[in-house]
Point group: C2
Chain length 513, copies 2
Amino acid sequence: MLLKAKILGLEAEKPVVILNKDDAAEIDVRPLDRVEMRLKGRKGVAIVNVATRFIKSGEIGLLSEIADHMRAKAGDRMDVLPSMPPESLIHIREKLAGKPLKDEHIRKIVEDTVHRRLSEIEMTAFVAALYNHGMTSREVAALSRAMASTGKTLDLGKKKIYDKHSVGGVPGDETSMVLVPIVAAAGLTIPKTSSRAITSPAGTADRFECLAPVDLDLEEIKHVVKKTNGCLVWGGAVDLAPADDLFIKIEYPLSIDPLLLPSVMSKKKAVGAKYLVIDIPTGEEAKVKTTKDAETLAERFIELGKMLRINTVGASTYGEQPIGFAIGPALEAREALSTLMYRKGPPDLVDKVAHLAGILLDFKLGGGGKKASLRLLRNGKAYKKLKDIILAQGGDPNIKPGDLPIGSKHVEVKSNVNGCVGWINNSAVVEIARAAGTPKDKGAGILLHKKMGDKVKKGQTLFEIYAEKSYKLERALRLARELKILGIGKTFQMLIKKIPPRIEHPKYFILER
Amino acid sequence: MLLKAKILGLEAEKPVVILNKDDAAEIDVRPLDRVEMRLKGRKGVAIVNVATRFIKSGEIGLLSEIADHMRAKAGDRMDVLPSMPPESLIHIREKLAGKPLKDEHIRKIVEDTVHRRLSEIEMTAFVAALYNHGMTSREVAALSRAMASTGKTLDLGKKKIYDKHSVGGVPGDETSMVLVPIVAAAGLTIPKTSSRAITSPAGTADRFECLAPVDLDLEEIKHVVKKTNGCLVWGGAVDLAPADDLFIKIEYPLSIDPLLLPSVMSKKKAVGAKYLVIDIPTGEEAKVKTTKDAETLAERFIELGKMLRINTVGASTYGEQPIGFAIGPALEAREALSTLMYRKGPPDLVDKVAHLAGILLDFKLGGGGKKASLRLLRNGKAYKKLKDIILAQGGDPNIKPGDLPIGSKHVEVKSNVNGCVGWINNSAVVEIARAAGTPKDKGAGILLHKKMGDKVKKGQTLFEIYAEKSYKLERALRLARELKILGIGKTFQMLIKKIPPRIEHPKYFILER
């Protein structure tokens, strides 16, 4: 059926066209069926939406992506025919019915995902099927490989590539910013790609962006890594395992995360990692609650690593409270920069970095990695390496912590009792930091003055809130009065945990990888 | 945040608004999060889509449904704030994780579905969860009740309402059109609502529309039923159990049908049915393959019926070939009309109608229902009743079979061998009839000349294809040469079934209820 193109300005990352109801019935397609379009030798397939008034009979509405793909101009007459759904839909249905998938079928599903051939309903069915039926090790490996190979890959022409990843869940965790310069200073190659915050106050990419540009392309990354052994860049700019972002769009509103393992490992595979440490923050206040759960998760990473030829070690780390004192992109960047520059920092941050960097160094040294890491921090070689990386990525290597702008609106929250900090509510920290403007407002966030075990006197500052805008500061402060960040008892109470009334935010601690 | 309304002509049955990327970040919402809008004392909640160019910072794009709901005009300044997802999403996640749902939580999900508060992703997660985890009887009953009570209901002020339903799967099944006049002629009240075809060549509503209007509203239905005891109307016009259509939109592209039981029973509940027969066409060529499967399904309907106080009987009927000879709305309407008018018709159609009508009459008579049904057909009372119903619904009661227009394009397909028909491929019948233009082109379809067991001579007509348009006739004929409708052996072969190469159409025989 010949239809006249009507170009809709609307952007949509979906291959959708809009037909008039009568035309759709004429060619026997229903909403969410597919049509094939032909125009001047070009072909395309799109998913059908149906309108009664907005698109008249004889017209076809094209969203900008499809219009670009077909190089269609308003008024072009396109031939439109019914088209079968992609083969991968059959395999999605098989998985939904509980059948394990073959490697090549997983590959088909990932290809059709990346080429936007699947509707949201079909992709949701796939994600829900993975969530319900789980995946065999073989399936996870095939999925990781398919996700890696359908995107770009970083080829540094080297065999020994090191990497680090955190499954997330604890706020204020600027470990990677300190770890990468140490590992690179030790002579190991660590091309670290990181994400931006989704539900947390800051991702590593958001933090490091306060020091240098992070949206480098693959050639630029190669250049930086060849020069310095390391980098700290935003993974989203390089199209590594692009299926991941598309799956996350489905997982996010459902707060489920069945693709955690392939999501992480496909990206490591794409940068050619051979040695990997997985940080699993563990604790009541973290995403992973117990060391037993952490072990189970680590074992799955290790097994998957074997299948993908990535030597993997898991590390269950203390996750009951934020790392260091700062929460928010610029505040954390200040803390990390100062730790490297002044060769010392918050003890928990330094210890965590030294342990994780140590695991990576141990791959090469066979032992003593933690000590070596601390040495590189303390002798200033790590700071020197940081400056090299900042310079190579296009930043100012002489930047000082005080140069990083933080929010000019600012309030101190003080204690109205004497006592001792018994617990910290991580999810309240996250919510208040987000209310203050993070991650968008880089200078927003929280600076803790007290952490677990600290003695507190009435009138002493417990924490500060920073914001770039007054209404956000007020919003954060209102929330801080409602949600308790710190639990203060008369002494360090032996009651392990009070159960404060929390506002349900089932979204937090999900999906930050 | 105050944003200027930009009204997009686009229709969408979804409460979606489009924000500029920067504004979304500013109020800390991501795609598929929710916002609350306020305008002149009116409030609304919508799901966020994000654009970078199409919607400028400071603007909010409103699709027509939301614009109407908010009574927003272009340029109106609306206050836009982040909003939590509806509570039902928590329960969808619980079901996705395998937890059984409480009655009130099921009700919440259905309410939010009907009020379009859930995104496609969230609804798909719910449907996939039901498919994967199944439902307890209690859940099915609660879902049926919630689906019935969130729509309109038909109150005829009577206690004894009779109804019939087919789970579908066999083409050319005009049973309801013949059954309803018989049952109504017996003095029973049978307000039959039917669907239009989704994947089949004709639904009962499509067929009966050839004789009389079927899109009656509730008051009109009451009027017709009070006058005649029966009706044959399109359920879609009366908003009974409206959640069903919304669930079907999700099930259709996935070819899954976990809501079959609540879908059927909610509609029966909504019309106040107390006595019900469920037709389950059974056979290799039908949706339900074995009598054992049919029994299991029937038992679930019966159990659910008890919980909903609907006396239910299941009937497993022969489904290996089309019922009667006609396939297509007008061709089937002719066959049904002629059966009632001339008091006899295809033996399989008459026998099926008599059995099913008999089951309903037996509820009242305690026995002898089948005989009584045949009597009402043969003494002309059923035809008289049909004329009353046609008249009451606004049609011409004196219409004759030959008055119903059928496709003027027409071809006969002849046998090139002598032999005996050993099998009929139902899904090929469906595909060819759809290719010929059904259900949209009411005059299109297939007229079988031979059925199973019939002797065939070389050169004899096997079937005719009718179409309203030449290109559709050619398309259907091409398909008829590719797919074999009839399998002809030398004698009635004892080989039960050849396995002909079929074109995979996993969509057919799903969702027609």
